[in-house]
């Protein structure tokens, strides 16, 4: 008496191998993910920005009455790079979300305010130290 048919055996083997491969695949995606999100190392930029918006790499620096705030340039709607300001507003070119100069949503579709990036001012060296995102 056969305990298990040949076909069923094959199916099981294929199933197990397939699941294992799928698991490996899932894991491999996660590892790549990790590389991307820890991409930003702590970086130092010279503190000499004019009043208003400055776009530097992947951040937007806003200086208002000598006070600095830094935001990620990733639109909180669907992640487009924001590269344009008009007056005291930032406008996302992809779907027109508008943000104020303190990163708050003025009009959608974005719902969340721009992500603030924490930083320290080193007055001695006159630099801004951006903190690691992680």
């Amino acid at each position: 008496m056969e305990l298990i048919t040949r076909k069923a055996f094959l199916k099981t083997i294929i199933g197990i191998t397939g699941s294992f491969l799928a698991y490996l695949f899932y894991k491999s995606l996660k590892i790549n993910d990790h590389i991307v999100s820890s991409n930003r190392v702590q970086s130092v930029i010279k503190n000499d920005f004019p009043e208003g918006f400055s776009f530097i790499n992947d951040i937007i620096l806003v200086k208002k009455n000598q006070k600095i705030e830094i935001f990620s340039d990733k639109c909180t709607h669907l992640g487009c790079k924001i590269n344009k300001s008009s007056g005291t507003e930032l406008v996302c070119s992809c779907h027109g979300s508008k943000f104020s100069d303190n990163g708050q949503v003025i009009s959608g579709p974005a719902l969340k305010n721009l992500k603030k990036i924490s930083f320290q001012l080193d007055n001695l060296r006159n630099v801004i130290i951006l903190n690691n995102e992680a």
Binding site: Y26, D48, H77, L78, K81, C94
Partner: protein, 900 residues
Amino acid sequence: MKLDSIKILISRSQFGYLSYASFFICILSGIALAFTFDPMNSYNSISLMILLNKPALFIRSIHYWSAQIFLLTSVFHIIDHLLKRTEKDVKSSSWVGMIMLIPFLLYAMFSGFLLKGDNEATQGMNIIVSVLNSIPLIGNIISGTMFGTTSSLQIIYINHIITSALVVWLLTIEHSKKIIPSAKSLLQVIPLIALLSVILIPSISKNISPETKGPWYLTGIQEIFHWLNYPEITIYILFLILVGIFSVKYLNNKASGRLKLVLLIFLLSYSLVSVFALFFRGESWKLIVPWDDNANVVEFLTASNLKTPEDSLLKRKVPLIQGKIESCMYCHSDVKGLSISHDVAAIGCYSCHLGNPLSLDKITAHRGMTLTPGNLDVAEKTCGTINCHPGILKRVGKSLMTSMSGVIAVNKYTFGESKTPDGYYNIENIGFTPAETHLRGLCAGCHLSNNKLKPAPIDELSRGGGCSACHLNYQPESIADLENLKAGKKSHFVNHPEITLKVTDDHCFGCHSRSGRIATNYEGWHETHLNSKDVTNIDKSKFRLLQDGRVFEKKNDDVHHKAGMMCIDCHNSYEIMGDGTKYSHKENAVKIQCIDCHTDNPSTITKDKMDQESQRILNIRNKTDLNIKYIVSKGTGIPYLNTIYKDGRIITELKSSGKQLISKPVSTLCGKDIQGHNRMDCATCHTAWAPQCIGCHTQYYPEMTGWDNLTNKETIGSWLEKDKEFYSDFPTLGVTFDPKSKNSKVTTFIPGMVLSISKSKNEKSYKRLFAPAFSHTISAKSVPCKTCHNNPVALGYGRGELKYVINNNNGRWIFSQKFSNFSSDNLPEDAWIGFLQNSKNNNSTRTNTRPFNIEEQKKILTIGSCLTCHKENDKKMIAVLRSTPFTKKKLSVKCIVPIW
């Protein structure tokens, strides 16, 4: 061909076949394209096709168009099925296959869009990944599988050319029961694809742009995303549509008919939204009309791009510009004359001059180009892009040299159009009131936003030009190139004018030789009423004829000019280009003070502590030493990058010649410690002379043809200005009050707006406003005491004889004026105040400024009376004046103080 056969040819029933045929061509062209396309360097590999590899460009065009037609015909084919109700005849497996084909087809299309690797593609990638990731639980896996988890295009490429292509093909075979499409259908689509591929060749977007458009079939979703706060809903809607189409087969006729109607309405509405988004959305999501000049609907290359370039071009090796291919380099890589930071090898041509960097055809490449990239109306796309000098551009936009705010405010105040001479204005926004047309007619050319109309070196008539107003220097070679170009002797510019920090005084001269005339004053030239004919055999040491026909005579130049200093040796970038703050008047924007350099106790800073702009400037000048102490302005902390403190001396290195000058600290003889002198600014004693015009009249002639300097167009109606006399005397002194510090200061004034205005026959007015003015005619030696204490002009009375008359031991000051009284206010034409009178209101072009009051006049004249007997260096007198408090008791019995 019979009509019937044409009907059949385009009949709905053909769509399935046409769709399959297009897909087949798409696959074939895709395979061919894979040989030249490099997914790891996609932007450049497509650029190379556009520029040099014309066969590959054509194949890409075929690939693009066959794909678009495949999509369109597939949609029509589905509609066709639904309308003809053929779904019921189709086998279930085939029906499921067809439904599954739709998402794969969309993926194949969209991944092709992403493989362009340009700015639009990157934004598209961000969006799709975010949308998929927002699906709970499986979102990440779906997005990782379809689009990868890094910014590399590798996964998309593999999925595009293998996974999606294979699946679509297999499903198509399953659906159509054919391995390859029929010859007939191929013959039908090939001409159409070929035609489109020749006349509309897809391009790539060039730079980071404030306008991002998805592919045409997704612009509708892009628009929907704008209105929808939860974008993942679109995925569910898409899923529902698929379920909807799927269930059509299994519902009864009535229900399926209704469902089809809903689907059709949805499709129609989606198409409308897509068309709207494609044609009516512009930069920064603004609404535009497609025929607007700035509209950039969909960019295609034309057939002319398929011309094979000359062999010589194919062989040329050109540098990559910031990692990208720029076609300009094929012809212009020999351009020289620019410094490293602006060298063509580093930034190419496109980043400044725009145009089309992906064409080797001269006309196409030059379309949309600017020859004057410094002009502020294009500077946002050139000098001021986010990779170059965006911060500076914003500052310049707010600076007084761009806004002319002070000029406008004072002019409107003079014309009675505003209550104060303050406030913030911008010349670009002025209208057509009398004050504004007056500005348009006489002043509005002198601002940075006035566009330079064609390339030309700076001369005395130059006005405006944005960044190039200061930073462009034509060398003799570039002038020769320009001449040759104009004469048609040369085809292109090789010797580019220098883009430089060496801003010469000539750059400032055009505008600043007018009004307060600081440019001419500084060089020691004073305007006369002579005209060019009077000075035909001009003695150049005594007279100077300007390009605008005005004749100037020689006076003493400023001591700093004598020493070889140029304007930029004192005035730094934060003054000239603004510091980001809007100022109403120039004296608020100026940072430099005499005591910053003329002191033994300077404030200093080292390079590593400076702002980035100052550091960058020092780098350009090769100043690397971190120990050098640079002088900073005591008031604002802004560093002087050419002035250092070394071994107890302040040394200024001239920016033009490198010559070193040593500044002397304030002399011990400076009379600042004398009572009443402590609030005098340095210019009050060190100004040699200041230009002053008397008897100005400004009249409007409604019928006369004039010129609008703001629009550079002719106008009907013109303002004409007449003046009677020019003087180069010591200025008038007055008082300015700073409400913040509550300090007042004595400073120099000249007649600012002393004029009668005839707006029309019946509308006449008269204004007597003096303006605080730093004349830029500084002399090292201070003026004699009598220049202020015994001088009616300095006191504000105007020209004439100011005499101290003693009768019976009583002294009295008497003034006989030179100019007769002006009827409107009964004061001599050149006076600011009446002799020993207080002034009336509205006497200055600034708030918080005034002439001397009676008390102050009396004090000044009292010392003036001493000076009628004593020499100014009389030690006894000085000792008395220096003693505090100064009382009359300390005077000798012989002294006769004035009675009033």
